[in-house]
Amino acid sequence: MALTTASIEQTAPDQASLKAAAKLLSPAKWPERLISADDGLIWGACQGSGANPYRVVVDLSDLGAKCSCPSRKFPCKHALALMLLYGEGADDFLPGTVPDWVTEWLGRRRKTDTVPKDEIIGTGKSLADALKDDIPVPVDAKTQAQREAAKQKRAAATRQAITDGMADLERWIADQLRTGLSDLLGDLTPRCRRIAARLVDAKAGTLAARIDGIPARVLGLPQGDRADAVIAELGKLVILSRAWGDGVAADPSVRREITGAEPRDALLANTETVRQTGLWEVLATREETRRDNLIARSTWLLALDGGHRFALLQDFFPASTGRQGAAFSLGEQFHAEMAFYPSAHPLRAQIVERRPREGLRHWPEISPATDVLKSFAAALAHEPWLLELPILLPQGRVAEAGSTPWWSGDHDTALPLLSETVDLSLCGAEIQSAAVLWNGHRASLLAAQTNLGRFHADG
């Protein structure tokens, strides 16, 4: 099953793909490279620029490939890179059991004649050219200074636009109070849409997306909770607006809420980035299609080495690229170094490096007497604009009150649960610990550790 340079060149859709694949050959970008020699399959995980890695599989019999990235090219650069790595050193691929997501792909795929035919060899794609380093074009000092000045001017203009947008937002909120929140609740979606559109113009795209999400978050709650929820939502917007000020001295976490997160390279280069190495478990993956036609994918991880720390891996990709494959299996555990975005309450993170782990370790112990909402209050004290926070619940059980399920602990603590996330089958198990997302009104179950094993709300 040796791959030849010629076969990979011919499989590549174009020279640019080969060039892009050549940049992914560093082993550090591949925390997982596995092979099932019996099945003629290689697969792995490639850490791209996003928080969630891409999963790639190649069928060596015909070079058919599948990747969870949104690329429209086939095969994509990740699949080509995996082929190249295999061609370079098959011994670096560890033997593994074919995972579910590969099996699922095998069941769906139709075999096609993707093995290059002799007659089409020689179409101008060259791996040797792709591997050549690009020589940077020298830039003189004057041009460099001009570029820097232009960049600063653009940044100042953006700050000003956002500051104006924030003033507009505060006026809008004051108007809602004047006309009554009952009216707002009756007309929530179009009103939020309008102010969100104005904030997009004001270059506050991330904040606009947050406001676009208000109707789903508020109207998804029972009628009795909606007034409180809309007050909390608008109050947090006011706080964010005040925290922005003129934008010059805004806290990085405030800037992240308004304009978006810094890129991975900037995060890893930042000396204030908090890093934590340890064992992590994938609790849940959520995908949400936003009104700006981006899909937000959130993966929640729990540190198993203690401390009850969670990590959130968040990526955005265009909805037009269709459904992407999952980046992780639920319940998967791995060793990783995590880089947290600087914040008073670090949560969002990127994986710096990870290694697979066999076996399953239990979640950290949590005392039944733990005040489960204390961490939420503490987080809001530092970052009052937070919408939701993962919390770990101690031993408890599900109770039913009308149509609302509740998590009920042993020490008079109880949280109402979002019924959509609680499956009947969980209710009969003894819940030893549960991870939920608490938004101040309802808890959304992510996963639970029970006497019958792990339960994952998403499957």
Binding site: V102, L106, G107, I173, A174, L181, S182, D228, G428
Partner: protein
């Protein structure tokens, strides 16, 4: 939390909900101050107000103790894949029955039994009761008048069947006392259980049902049981049916009688004749033809398939076991017996007997459909029958087509896909029928034909092998 904070929050909320420039405290009158108050109120609501469990909240009871170990973790993903796409209830019953025969139960996170567990192993009754929010006892108690209403219907039927086995008269007395308390559908099922240890002592009660029960279904069930006892009931159209039949002679030396439909029946008459075969009893038919039941069985056609099935149905409902087997012997001798017919009489036989008859059919090469076989015999066949099964032409043809189905011969052609659609249901059934040793043999054949061992079409076989049963 100070009460005045809460009162202040509620007051502000009321003001914001209705809107307007409502005067507030002097330091909170401007729009900027209102926004500050809003921000504080939101935080107050989320950090100071704690949810409290309503007094009406009722804890969901824990699962009952499970009778068997749960399916091993590594096989749960395959089990979930076998569950979808939506499978028929028959297949689900076979899958769950297969697991039980290998000593495991489905994980409740993956599958919970329906409220009506008919067709599923009895070990799932406590889970079904839990599912229906009933108190779940793990041991089915002895059925008495006192606990009759406390038991879950499926559990009550199980207890009733056990009682019929150990003390048929006590079971009958219980029905006399309690039958009126259950709906007709349930009553009909319970009456059906009189087939266990059916005897002439039951005749009076069954005749009472025929005479006075409100439900037609119950009357029919009772009448069929009476027929098995040789009690001649109402005509039910037997004479009308006899008019559609003719008894002719066949053979040169030994002139045997043969009963078939009259040759000149039109379509309406034929449909009517078939409908009557569904209602009459063997005894009524024999009387109408002026024959004994044994003579009818000896004369009924064994060559004309359209007439065999309805007649077997009539026997299964109303004949004794010996009468049924007598006709089966004739069918076997004529090589017209098959698994569809065996499926009709299977409810009257125990599993060992069904397996014996199945082995006989397989020796004759009488396999048509693996799924029909699965429904008749149930899962997890013994090695002797597995050997016979794998030697049949049908199974050899199916496995022979695997090379095309694997797509290795004809890439890009739809032919491989068509072959796959034939292979897939056959392998799904084989995975539940075969012993683990035989499943390994088939899996190796398929891998040799070009299938990845991880291919979804092999799930059923992989599942079987993963749940190794006793050595075979």
């Amino acid at each position: 939390m100070p009460m005045d904070d809460l009162a202040r929050f509620e007051s502000a909320k009321l003001r914001w909900m209705s809107g307007g420039d409502v005067p507030t405290a002097p330091d909170l009158s401007g729009p900027a101050a209102q926004l500050r108050e809003l921000a504080l109120a939101g935080q107050f609501r989320q950090t100071c107000l704690r949810p409290t469990l309503p007094e009406t909240a009722r804890p969901v009871p824990n699962y009952p103790r499970l009778a068997l170990p749960l399916l091993p973790e590594n096989l749960r993903p395959i089990f979930r894949r076998l569950l979808c796409p939506a499978q028929s209830r028959d297949y689900m019953q076979a899958l769950i029955g297969f697991m039980a025969s290998r000593g495991v139960m489905a994980h409740p996170f993956d599958w919970l039994p329906p409220r009506d567990t008919d067709g599923y192993p009895d070990i799932y009754i406590p889970l079904a009761k839990w599912h229906a929010s009933e108190d779940a006892e793990t041991i089915t108690p002895d059925l008495t008048e006192d606990n009759w209403s406390d038991l879950f219907p499926a559990e009550r039927r199980l207890a009733f069947e056990i009682l019929r086995q150990v003390d048929a008269a006590a079971a009958r007395d219980l029905m006399v006392a309690k039958a009126g308390t259950v709906p007709a559908e349930e009553r009909m099922r319970l009456v059906g259980l009189f087939a266990v240890n059916l005897g002439h002592d039951d005749q009076g009660y069954l005749e009472g049902l025929v005479a006075s029960d409100r439900s037609g279904k119950v009357k029919t069930a009772a009448r069929q049981l009476l027929a098995r006892l040789g009690v001649d009931g109402e005509d039910d159209g037997a004479h009308e049916l006899a008019d559609f039949l003719e008894v002719s002679s066949k053979g040169l030396l030994r002139r045997n009688s043969v009963i078939t439909f009259r040759k000149k029946l039109n379509d309406v008459q034929r449909r009517r004749a078939f409908a009557l075969l569904d209602t009459v009893s063997l005894l009524q038919l024999a009387n109408a033809l002026d024959h004994s039941p044994a003579q009818v069985i000896a004369a009924w056609t064994v060559d004309e398939h359209p007439l065999i099935g309805p007649f077997i149905g009539c026997l299964a409902r109303t004949a004794t076991k010996d009468q049924i087997l007598a006709y089966w012997e004739r069918l076997s001798a004529a090589k017209t017996a098959g698994f569809l017919y065996l499926g009709q009489i299977a409810p009257r036989l125990n599993r060992a007997h069904i397996l014996d008859l199945s082995a006989g059919l397989l020796k004759q090469g009488r396999l048509i459909d693996l799924n029909a076989l699965l429904m008749v015999t149930g899962p997890d066949l013994d090695p002797r029958i597995c050997d016979l099964l794998l030697a049949t032409d049908e199974v050899r043809d199916i496995l022979g087509g695997a090379t095309v189905a694997s797509g290795t011969d004809m890439p890009g052609d739809t032919k491989d896909h068509q072959a796959l659609t034939v292979l897939e249901p056959a392998l799904r059934a084989l995975g539940l029928l075969l012993s683990s040793t035989h499943a390994i043999r088939v899996l190796e054949t398929l891998k040799g034909a070009g299938f990845h061992s991880a291919h979804p079409i092999l799930y059923s076989l992989t599942f079987n092998i993963g749940l190794k049963g006793p050595p075979s």
